[in-house]
Subunit: 141 residues, 2 copies
Amino acid sequence: MTISARVHYATLALIELAQRQSEKSPVAVREICQRHGIPAPFLVQILRTLRSAGWVQSIRGAQGGYRLAIAPTELNLLEIAEAVGCSDSNCQTDATDTPANRMVHEVWDAASEASRAVLARTTLAEIAARSAQGDEVMFYI
Amino acid sequence: MTISARVHYATLALIELAQRQSEKSPVAVREICQRHGIPAPFLVQILRTLRSAGWVQSIRGAQGGYRLAIAPTELNLLEIAEAVGCSDSNCQTDATDTPANRMVHEVWDAASEASRAVLARTTLAEIAARSAQGDEVMFYI
DNA sequence: CCATACTTGACTATTGGGATCAACTTTCTA
DNA sequence: TAGAAAGTTGATCCCAATAGTCAAGTATGG
C-alpha cells in the first residue's frame, strides 16, 4: 500500500469539505487548491473519482463547487486510498511457485494487511476533527 | 513500503543460501535462478547489493558461487527490503503545511510503521525453516 | 589453457504517477 | 439575455523508477 500524492490530495480535499459541511454554498475547487497547495487541474481529476464514488456532490455553474455527500464517520482512509487508485498489487513476479515463494508472499501480505488495518480504522471524521483543533490552536497563537 | 520484485528475489535467494549453509561448496547463481525462476542477470545485480551489505560472500572462478555470511537469525525482512532499495519515501507532495496536512501525514506514517513492524519481526531463519518444512511436505506427497 | 563462474558498468525499455490543456457545458447575476 | 464563473471531459505529456539486459573483463579449478 503505497501512498501516492493522489491519495494525499484526495484526503486533504475531503477534510476541507467535511469541515465546511454546514456552509450553505458549495466549496470551489480553486479554494481548496489555494488552501492546501494542490495543483488545480490535478485536483479536478481526483474529484472526478471521488464523485463517481458517491462521496462528493458537484454543483455546476457560477457559485458552484463541491460538497460532501456522505457522513464523515462513514468514510475511512483505506476506502479513500483504494478508490483513488492505490492498488495493493504487492510484488508481481513470475517466480516459481515454491514453498519459499509462498512463504515470502505470506509475509508481504501480512505487512500489507497491517498497514491497511491502520488506514481502515481512521475515519474522515476523526482527522477532520483533529485537524480542526489544530486550526484553533494556530489561531490563538 | 512497496515490495518490489527486487526485494522478493533477494529474499528468495537468501532463503536458498540459508537452507544450504551446511553444504561444502558455494551455490551458483544459475542454480538459484533455475530453482526460483529468477532472471539471472537481474539476480546478479541484486546479489551485488547483498554482498556489499555483508550478508553474502562470493567465491569466484569455477565451482564458485555464493554463500551466506551471516546467521539467518540476525537478518530480518525489513533490513533486506531497505538494503535492496525499498525506500520508505511515503508520499512526497508540495502541499501547504497545514494542520490537516500534518494530521494526514501522521496517519500515513502510522500505517507505514505498522507494516515495517511486521517485516522487522520476521527473520530470515524463520521463513527459511518454515519453507523447508514446506519442501518436506511436498517431497512426501 | 579453457571452461566455468563471478564482476562491473553501462544501457534499454516499460510502466505508472504527476501534472497540464483545450474545448465544452451549465448556471448565476447584472 | 449576455458573459463571467465553475465544473466536465478526454487527451496528452513528462519524468523517474523499476525491471531487465549486455558485453567485456577477471579469477580459478582441472
